[in-house]
Amino acid sequence: MTGTALHQPQAVEHRQARQGVAASEWMLERRWPVALAGAVTLLALWQLYGSTVGLPEYILTPVEIARSAAELTASGRLVELASASLRRLVFGFTIGTATGVLLGLLSGVSRKLGDLLDGPVSLTYPIPKITFLPIIAIWLGFSDPARIIVIAAACFFPAYLNAHAATRSVDQSLVWVAMNAGAGKLRTLMQVVLPAALPRTVAGIRQALALAFIFMFATEAIGSGTGTDAGLGGEMFAARTTGEYEVLWAALATVALLGGTVDATFRWLVGKLMIGQELEAGRG
């Protein structure tokens, strides 16, 4: 290895790492600083436009929204509305998702049950589940139980379908390996099939969570109750007609905050529980 070079190296530095390039590179690598900067800029423009040019009376600026949200939280009204909504959400989501996951896993393992449930599920799946509300309301009125049943029905489908598909797509050779090792049916199910089906099942649960929020809001908006029982959704529509715009915006902000927080918490929890497994599988 001597005299390698024929020519004198004429080093032409094409890309010098300038300071600005490095900074933008840092932001692009992480992504969230760019998104945060974008979001903050948008909010600032909104605020600026509102306080200089002015907005219609029904559109509040971010600062006004924050102030009214703080006031309504202090007075307890927002908390009561939110807890009425969350109560429905939690019950509906829990019942629907638990049923869905359980039946999905079972029908994934048992061909017979799978075939039996497959028909009714594919028959009811295309129906927009919100239409169940007026049907159930025929018997139960626009009550909490009616709303909870509808939320549960909406959550059932993604939970069931994903759990079912997850169990079905578990690598058969994994099961054979377990059987070969002398594992019984129950042990194979608990230690091989369920863990392998977990990522996709969890993705289904996350879809159900997003649907639960949509249906929480929708069931409250339709045939809404009065007072704090209306929940955030009902209250927003009431506030629109009465012109209490600060309540409307504060409730909207609360819905957004709750949706974002619950989803983030869910993902954080899942991240803690499923180390090494792919959570994003369901986010295609």
Partner: protein
């Protein structure tokens, strides 16, 4: 944001094709239970299947179903169409530009769990009651699966494919048309398949909330008039529509993404 419809059909396809009898049995069982309840209760609260069928025929005859259904579908498809255009553009931009990607991807991820439906009252204040807020809401909801589908699809274009296009001397428009879009098509159709049921939900919900036209209104009207058969007739029609949309998009995928069949043989 996986695709529940695709999941549904995947699940259906995964199920063994042999004992379809058992699957029919499941449907028959469901309907039989309904019939039993309907016949024994004897009240109008639970109409029999026959009564529901008669009601659908009646609503068709009076033109009610056509009148309201047409309005619903028109708004739904306008919204979907706009969402497809904006969503594809956004997805392509995200796939092409790192800045757009860094900006949009976390934003879409963070706003995904927030129900856009909550914006409806504000959209009504902005646009007034009527078509505009509904279509806007459909756009807002369907944008997510479309943008993400296109983004994922456009990102599946390999570096080799893009370099090949540069080697051949294809300009950006040619590359978009002949390389990026075909490569993104399967994922875009998956996005569309996820968007279709969302479109139906959103439009029906908005029609159920204080409105005087559309299938959602028809539903609420029948309820207010205490006509359970009328309610169930609309529900059945919506179910059929949802099913048809899904089949239609599945068929479209099969025709357009013909090349994937060969690979999966």
């Amino acid at each position: 944001m996986a695709n529940p419809t695709a999941t549904a059909t995947a699940a259906i396809r995964n199920a063994s094709p042999g004992p379809s009898l058992r699957r029919l049995l499941g449907i028959a069982l469901l309907l039989a239970v309904w019939e039993l309840v309907a016949n024994t209760s004897g009240t109008r609260l639970t109409p029999t299947l026959r009564e529901i069928g008669t009601r659908i025929a009646f609503d068709l005859e009076t033109g009610m179903l056509w009148f309201h259904g047409r309005l619903t579908l028109m708004l739904a498809f306008s919204g979907l169409l706009i969402a497809v255009v904006i969503g594809c553009a956004t997805g392509l931009l995200m796939a092409r530009s790192r800045w757009a990607e860094a900006m949009m991807q976390p934003l879409l991820g963070a706003t995904y769990p927030i129900p856009r439906l909550a914006l409806y009252p504000i959209l009504i204040l902005l646009f007034g009651l009527g078509a505009a807020p509904k279509v806007t809401l459909v756009v807002l909801e369907c944008l997510y699966p479309m943008a993400l589908g296109t983004y994922v699809g456009a990102r599946s274009v390999t570096k080799d494919q893009l370099w090949l296009a540069r080697n051949v001397g294809a300009g950006w428009l040619r590359t978009l048309r002949d390389v990026t879009l075909p490569a993104a098509l399967p994922a875009m159709l998956t996005g569309l398949r996820a968007a279709a049921p969302i479109m139906l939900i959103v439009i029906v919900v908005t029609e159920m909330i204080g409105e005087n036209r559309g299938l959602g209104y028809m539903l609420m009207l029948a309820r207010a008039n205490f006509e359970p058969d009328g309610v169930l007739a609309v529900v059945a029609v919506l179910g059929v529509l949802g099913f048809l949309f899904d089949r239609l998009i599945a068929l479209l995928s099969k025709l357009l993404v013909f090349w994937e069949r060969g690979v999966r043989m």
